[in-house]
Amino acid sequence: MASAYSKDLLLTMYRKMYLMRRFEERTQQQYGLGKIAGFCHLYIGQEAVAVGINEAIRPDDYMLSGYRDHAQPLARGSHPGMIMAELFGRTGGYSKGKGGSMHVFDIEHHFYGGYGIVGGQIPLAAGMAFASRYRNEDRITVCYFGDAAANQGAFHETFNMAAKWKLPVLYVCENNRYGMGTAIARVSAEPEIHKRGAAYNMRHEAVDGMDALKMYEAVKDAAAYIRAGKGPVLMEANTYRFRGHSVVDPATYRSKDEVEEERKNDPIPRLMHYALNKKLAKEADFEAIEAEVKAQVDEAVKFADESPEPALDELWRDTIVEEGEPDVRPRERVLGAKVDKWPSYPSGKELKVTWDLEPRAQADKADKAAGLKG
């Protein structure tokens, strides 16, 4: 059977997944060399989720994540050297080295950060989606979180509002089965996270998160549903991290056999085999990509190595916006590049809010049903 996918799409996805993998492997190596410190969580094994999502949405859709956040901006097109410099704590990083591994922000590419408090980004995503709805834009917000975040209050409080107000947001639970060292099933009355969407009358589904094309299909469909104004979607991407929770975690809480078994599902060779079987690409195509990506990651490490350490007085800068102070555009600041895709919005004078979030008749009806008004 012919493939529904173009060679271009398959190779783009492969290139991005391979970049994530090599980037993270080099991150671990650089951590070992002492160039990166602090908490550092690798994405190795979960690449299909990020690439499937990114290729299925628009570049101007908003995205935000938890602290396992190096790979999603790579999928969006962020500069690998500037992400590596951020991990190194150097001025050439996206946040001048002040965000580090857990807080990658690339607003030019609509990546609104990684967040270090489990589930803390879930309400933010609803607010960003709220803003799109408020302005009558057809943009959606994609919010990543891990399986453990599903047990936070923020998850439940936000889903109730997002569903009730039909906010245009896709919540992707990357279920890699462990919240740090605790298996999700040990602490969850309902370990199939997506089922919790039912409690909020929210569309919900589980997807094989080790298969980039299945992710791509599922997100295409969900994004169209959300963009059409039908409400939020909770998608559970069942995935697996091949490494520990963070670079210093030997992951002794799971068996070698389990990890070996999961490695058979490695999403990167899986996509390659698909393309080869469908005769959409040749081995030489992949070899060329791999060589290019390796050079790109070498360049990223070199870029980070050569980026200066921040001055001490940077510590207190960027805590308060002074009057008239513009926002910092990282590629402009670091590379001198012209940044013209920075998000911009109508002013408060131009904006016309036409949304009736809770029509009066609907509120009256609910009040009447509750016996409040005749």
């Binding site: 001048k96 965000g99 607003i107 609104y112 009057e323």
Partner: protein, 272 residues
């Protein structure tokens, strides 16, 4: 100049700013159809509609975070806390997200949002509903913390807070809402970060904010009868003071006494 209640002054500020800027919206518990738990948002739902005056479920963490997210992409939310006691549930979003976005994004993002509601001692409300929590927030870099005492300051500072590009935490006096005072009409802005010498004196400076200001003025009267000239300095802003007006006033009188309305442990008075 019109004489308005503190709550009416706040209502006027909200209405004027929402009229001026469609990016401003109000979200909180009972702000819409109920017209506000303390009637600060009276009449605003009819005027601005249900997308701009939003009745939130009782999910302080959730709707506070929703406000922060909206501010990250350029809206200017006002999040009403029914009282600051309930906002303890929302503290993660205020402290870990709103306050730190500018810093951890290296200046890429700003978070123009106001968190406001009543604080301070309540009447016969016992332990959970009668706390002065402002100094807690004053501790965190990235937040501006304000606590106006008079209706005029309440209006002028709320307008300034809504126009500010930073997260502003505003403590209103729960027992000040019905208090009346003269309030300038229209464009009345009180800049954040500036204290106000509400009574001049040369022997001692009493530093205060919010409702305790009124007690301090009484104390100053009492002292005057005893031949002591007391200055009363209303801080108004507790974090991110633009000027060193507190220091100047204290240097002039060399003695200061501060009057927080609750525990002095870790109060703004103990901060440098």
């Amino acid at each position: 100049m019109a004489e308005l209640m503190y709550r009416e002054a706040l209502n006027q500020a909200l209405a004027e700013e929402m009229e001026r800027d469609a990016q401003v919206f109000l979200i909180g518990e009972e702000v819409g159809r109920y017209q506000g738990a303390f009637k600060v948002s009276q009449g605003l739902l009819d005027k601005f509609g249900s997308a701009r005056i939003i009745d939130a479920p009782i999910s302080e963490l959730g709707f506070t975070g929703l406000g922060v997210g909206a501010a990250m992409v350029g809206l200017r939310p006002v999040v009403e806390m029914m009282t600051w006691n309930f906002a303890i549930l929302a503290m993660d979003q205020i402290v870990n997200n709103a306050a730190k976005l500018r810093h951890m994004s290296g200046g890429q993002l700003r978070c123009p949002i106001v968190f406001r509601g009543p604080g301070g001692a309540g009447g016969r409300l016992s332990s959970q509903h009668s706390q002065a929590l402002e100094s807690t927030y004053a501790h965190f870099p990235g937040l501006k913390v304000i606590a106006p005492a008079t209706p005029a300051d309440a209006k002028g500072m709320l307008k300034a807070a809504i126009r500010d590009d930073n997260p502003v935490v505003m403590f209103e006096g729960e027992r000040l809402y019905a208090l009346k005072g003269e309030v300038p009409e229209g464009e009345h802005i009180v800049p954040l970060g500036k204290a106000d010498v509400k009574r001049e004196g040369k022997d001692v400076t009493i530093i205060t904010w919010s409702r305790m200001y009124y007690f301090c003025m009484e104390a100053a009267e009492q002292l005057a009868k005893e031949g002591i000239s007391a200055e009363v300095l209303d801080l108004r802003t507790l974090a991110r003071m633009a000027s060193s007006s507190r220091g100047r006033s204290v240097r002039r009188s060399r003695i200061s006494t501060e009057m927080p309305s609750a525990s002095s442990c870790l109060a703004a008075s103990s901060q440098k």
